[in-house]
Symmetry: C2
Subunit: 362 residues, 2 copies
């Protein structure tokens, strides 16, 4: 059993339905059985478009400082973007990933039930590099006789590519262990698929590919039987939709990972199901993959599942696997029964009703 301790969790609801799902995340943490020997304390923190409009900063220093000084982990909801470029505004979650060196964005995607299009279970995880690539946001614009030209830097480092592939390998091993323990899908090949576009970007994506291979060729992965696979990013999107059940762990540079994880989410029915964790050394922020969804904001019908799973994912990376497993199982129970589902899943349940149903199953 994990060591008993109190974990301090920063709650950053952000905008829109972020403000409706993050409270659900808090509720499930508070509802975990006492037998786990885990306690939680919470601190409310601000970030987002509303915060920017109120304070002039989308990510106040106080939020960063409090996370660094006091917290073990955090939950981040979603933020709205301005509809036109706004001076001084830039995405707080992108900034947070860099400021806290949360170098991995881990996004597990799992199907609820077989469908005609996908009769075989989908159970894969996208491991997205979270600090560099085009997300360094080094851009410039200049005038030419033919009009404006803008340039952005795509930066790929050997170090970041190596460490993200290493994490992907570790996740593949851990998933294999879970399969062997639970008896679920035993025999599924542990595999890491390296995604890149080195046929065009021979230096940047070539470096990603090479560093990722080097990381995955380490004895710890070879001995565990982790297969190294590769896909060019366009072909990866194609295969993800043609044969998703053949994939296990997919590792990708930041931007491809962003695109692939939305694509994978589409396969399992709703972005409202897909969690993520932004992970660094000893720190994790759980973040549902969906956006702030202004169209349904305030209606109390946002799907809390992505957030509840993000809570579990955060706990996994804080080495509280037992607590994580309880939440996953409760969520799977709610989905398998299929009686209390939110509207994005074809149901009628509210955020609160879904959350309460999951809590009942803990």
């Amino acid at each position: 059993m994990a060591a008993a301790r109190t974990l301090r969790i920063g709650l950053i609801p952000g905008d829109g339905i972020g403000r409706e799902v993050i409270p659900a995340g808090r509720r499930i943490l508070e509802a975990l059985p006492a037998s786990l020997g885990l306690k939680f304390s919470f601190v409310d923190l601000e970030a987002g478009w509303q915060t920017f409009q109120n304070t002039g900063a989308a990510l106040p220093e106080k939020t960063v400082d409090t996370l660094k000084a006091e917290c073990d982990g955090a939950l981040f909801g979603a933020v709205s973007s301005p509809t036109t470029p706004t001076k001084g505004y830039s995405s707080p979650i992108v900034a947070l990933r860099k400021r806290l060196d949360l170098y991995a964005n881990v996004r597990p995607v799992k199907s609820v039930a077989p469908t005609p299009a996908f009769p075989d279970p989908i159970d894969l995880v996208i491991v997205r590099e979270n600090t560099e690539d085009l997300y360094v946001k080094e851009e410039k614009t200049y005038d030419t006789p033919n009009g404006k030209v803008a340039e952005a830097i795509k930066r790929i480092s050997e170090r970041a590519s190596f460490r993200i592939a290493k994490m992907a390998g570790e996740i593949a091993v851990r998933r294999q262990n879970v399969r062997n323990t639970t008896g679920d899908a035993v025999g599924k090949q542990a595999m890491v698929t390296i995604t890149h576009k080195s046929n065009v970007l021979s230096q940047t994506d070539g470096l990603f590919r090479q560093a990722a291979r080097a990381a995955l060729e380490a004895p710890q992965f070879k001995n565990a039987g982790v297969k190294i696979d590769e896909q060019i990013v366009d072909s990866m999107v194609y295969k993800l939709f043609r044969e998703p059940s053949t994939y296990d762990v997919v590792v990708a540079p930041n931007l491809y990972g962003d695109i692939l994880s939305d694509g994978a989410a589409a396969l399992v029915g709703s972005l409202g199901l897909v969690p993520s964790a932004n992970v660094g050394d000893g720190f994790a922020i759980g973040e549902p993959c969906h956006g702030s969804a202004p169209d349904i904001q305030g209606k109390g019908i946002a799907n809390p599942i992505a957030t509840l799973r993000s809570v579990a994912l955060m706990l996994e990376f804080l080495e509280q696997e037992e607590a994580a497993a309880l939440i996953y199982k409760a969520v799977d129970g709610n989905l398998a029964e299929g009686k209390l589902l939110s509207p994005d899943m074809g149901g009628k349940a509210t955020t609160d009703q879904v959350t309460e149903d999951v809590i009942r199953r803990l």
Copy 2:
């Protein structure tokens, strides 16, 4: 009727199954009815990995010169890439697009029949910018105390963004005219969806978005009722898989267009169905979207449909709409009957049998 003339077509089979499908493209051009008043002459040209191994150049100057000096259009098969980075080798199709300023890559994607996953017809076209973005391939690598770092330039110009969006608008109008003429899907909203990631890349993708909007706000499009829509690229991939039938024309910078078109191809069952044309002012190269497929090379079972449709697409951009329409109809007839299909479509027919069946239907 289009003016009677002889069109000279360069044939660049490339590698692998490129050598099997390009002859099918030639056959269908030769089989077009004489009543069209069209003649064709052909010139065989080399490019690709095999050519690189034989001559040291993946795209010999002679190929470029002949296309420029003699040809009205061309057909390009597919090329293999070396499995490890090879000094001096770089993709000949990427080079050709730039050398001939074929600034648009047009990729129509159309479903064959309703499926449980997609009951509504899918009929969309990806219009991909074809000359810039990360495909400028300006890369450098340097050493740091923490290992190698590589950088690539993503370059977006106002001029290229404007002209690709203008072409997307023109295609939307043309498609609407075809719907009104054929009576097919009349009432489908003519729409261009601008894809970008300006929430992160405010300058580069911001410029693409802004220039594309400016192009599409022109009276010629407004008066024709072309709606301007926008999607962030990750959300675009999600929506493409959730509600593909709602899209009409999707315009995107080079790399997103590359990824989106493979994604769209997955929706309709096989890359073997999806054509493309690389289009510049007065010149077009038809190119099937699939690769060189070394796994089935030499077996005579490659699906020629993507190439036959690419022939039609090339003809459209050479203003031979009547000939193009005949080929599209013949292909649709073959697919609708579903008796002579290649193995990627679940059938048993060879490349030749499919080609002959389509020719019979001209």
